[in-house]
């Protein structure tokens, strides 16, 4: 039996096509991926992201504990700020990628991938038990308490204050939602409930992610679609979410990231703080950072007229199969086949000519700088 989010009946009412996504019955599209994608690039879109997991970590030991299991430096976070970070095992390979927010003092809030909730929580519990100051630590999987939406696009700041009016009451104190800057998070009152709003997203566009109770998020979904209607908002499914994030080269766990891949190989070294002290995987990541890697994540564009590249298609260079596509699609913004994949470092330089094997035939592509699509 697939799990359903608080917005399931809203999706049904909108005529969404539903698919199994990591055990969740989620909307892949409402009217069409291209239309939804372009709404987010040009106006606004709302996504159900209730399937994602939430973990709270608090107590006097929370910061040191999180710094021992995550790659980014949690001490950079002042209250009301979040950061992208990764959780690695001792081999330096990725258990999950996530957002960590410091809500206040010793209270941290992690947003993790839906497909990784069980693995992450089990791993964190084992790590917490080994943590010397585990008595100063409280770790709770709060995933079932929360629903969430992402509201994304260049016109969102024109109506989001109408959806959630007023000043924040916790985390970062601001007078209005649009006063939040990138990666900042505030707690706002919405119909007598508290919701968390952060200026983050997975599309490359400006926008907000809103986490709250099932009830609050159901109302916010309806209100956002109503208040955003004059600005061209559309409900958007996982199909558009995938094409949007692929254009801006954001990794997706299970595609670019897994337990056989390190953040350095994935080009995410910026989010690995090698000098913050010991953490899981540090020695492997430091060695890779110094000596180089055997595979590197590249972005590419098709230069031949051909079918769109797809995950698992072989990548060829100099007449040999050298790698595998991890994400690929037809770019709705650029109207060309695009993708990402792993290749040996000698083929990872910009402008390197590669080929993508599509149904037994090779088609020309070129390695490009990330992101493939630059948000204006």
């Amino acid at each position: 039996m697939l799990k359903r989010t608080a917005l399931f009946s809203a999706h049904q009412k909108l005529g969404a096509r539903l698919i199994d996504f990591g055990g969740w019955e989620m909307p892949v599209q409402y009217t069409g991926i291209v239309e939804e994608h372009l709404a987010v690039r040009n106006a606004a879109g709302i996504f159900d992201i209730s399937h994602m997991g939430e973990v709270t970590v608090s107590g006097a030991g929370a910061a040191d504990f999180l710094n021992s299991i995550l790659t980014n430096d949690i001490r950079k976070l002042t209250p009301g700020i979040g950061q992208y970070t990764l959780m690695c095992n001792e081999r330096g390979t990725v258990i999950d990628d996530l957002y960590a927010y410091r809500l206040c003092g010793d209270v941290y809030f992690l947003i993790i991938n839906a497909s990784r909730i069980e693995a992450d929580v089990a791993w964190m519990q084992v790590q917490a038990a080994k943590f010397p100051r585990h008595s100063e630590l409280s770790l709770t999987d709060a995933s079932h308490n929360y629903a969430a939406v992402a509201v994304q696009g260049p016109r969102v700041n024109e109506f989001i204050n109408a959806v959630i009016p007023g000043a924040s009451i916790s985390a970062l104190r601001v007078n209005a939602v649009t006063d939040l800057k990138k990666n900042q998070i505030g707690g706002f009152k919405f119909e007598n409930q508290s919701v968390l709003v952060s200026r983050t997203g997975y599309t490359g566009e400006d926008g907000f992610e809103i986490v709250g109770s099932d009830d609050a998020i159901r109302h916010i979904w309806d209100k956002t679609l109503a208040d955003g209607a004059p600005f061209g908002i559309k409900p958007c499914g996982l199909g558009a979410r995938d094409t949007l994030r692929t254009e801006v080269c954001y990794p997706l766990y299970g595609h670019e990231l897994d337990e056989e891949t390190t953040p350095i190989e994935a080009g995410l070294g910026f989010f690995v703080s090698l000098d913050k002290g010991e953490f899981n995987g540090r020695s492997v990541l430091a060695a890779q950072n110094a000596a180089g890697v055997e595979k590197k994540l590249v972005a590419f564009k098709m230069t031949d007229k051909c079918a769109p590249p797809r995950p698992h298609y072989p990548i060829w260079a100099n007449g040999a199969s050298v790698g595998i596509v991890t994400s690929g699609t037809q770019s709705p913004s650029l109207n060309v086949g695009i993708g990402m994949g792993y290749v040996p470092p000698e083929f990872a330089k910009r402008d390197t000519k590669i080929e993508i094997e599509i149904r037994g035939k090779c088609f020309a592509a070129i390695v490009v700088q990330k992101p493939i699509y630059k948000v204006h």
């Binding site: 069409g32 991926i33 769109p308 037809q330 709705p332």
Partner: protein, 127 residues
């Protein structure tokens, strides 16, 4: 509501067939194009290729996925619709006219009897 022209025959896998003499023209239905949405690429068979009924011989790609198209009947491909490879969205905008895929010379016309009538196809898609 899906458009299901009354003068065509259909398959369970959502192809339509227009018969003229001993030649059949093949495309995909309005219902199928609506399910696929946003067709971005069409790969057609080589003229002269001999196919069996039920054999995959075209690929239609939407943004999300690649889908095989099956020949509803056996025979030899005599002509393909080149314009649809340059303008794949013809499959979405004109599924029964400009969006056709190929013509096939029937090697076993009796196979036509196994295809679905417009009424049966309508029932199948829950129309």
């Amino acid at each position: 509501m899906s458009n299901i022209p009354s003068d065509l025959k259909y398959t369970k896998s959502h192809e339509w067939v227009r018969v003229s003499g001993n030649t059949a023209t093949v495309g995909i239905t309005d219902h199928a194009q609506a399910e696929l949405t946003d067709v971005v690429f069409v790969e057609l068979p080589e003229p002269g290729r001999k196919v069996k009924a039920g054999e995959a011989c075209c690929v239609v790609e939407s943004v999300k996925t690649a889908s095989d198209i099956y020949s509803p009947v056996s025979g030899e491909i005599t002509e393909v619709n080149k314009p649809v490879t340059d303008k794949p969205d013809l499959v979405n905008t004109e599924p029964y006219t400009g969006g056709w895929f190929f013509k096939i010379k029937l090697s076993n016309p009796a196979e036509l009897n196994a295809l679905l009538s417009p009424e049966d196809y309508k029932k199948q898609i829950g129309g």
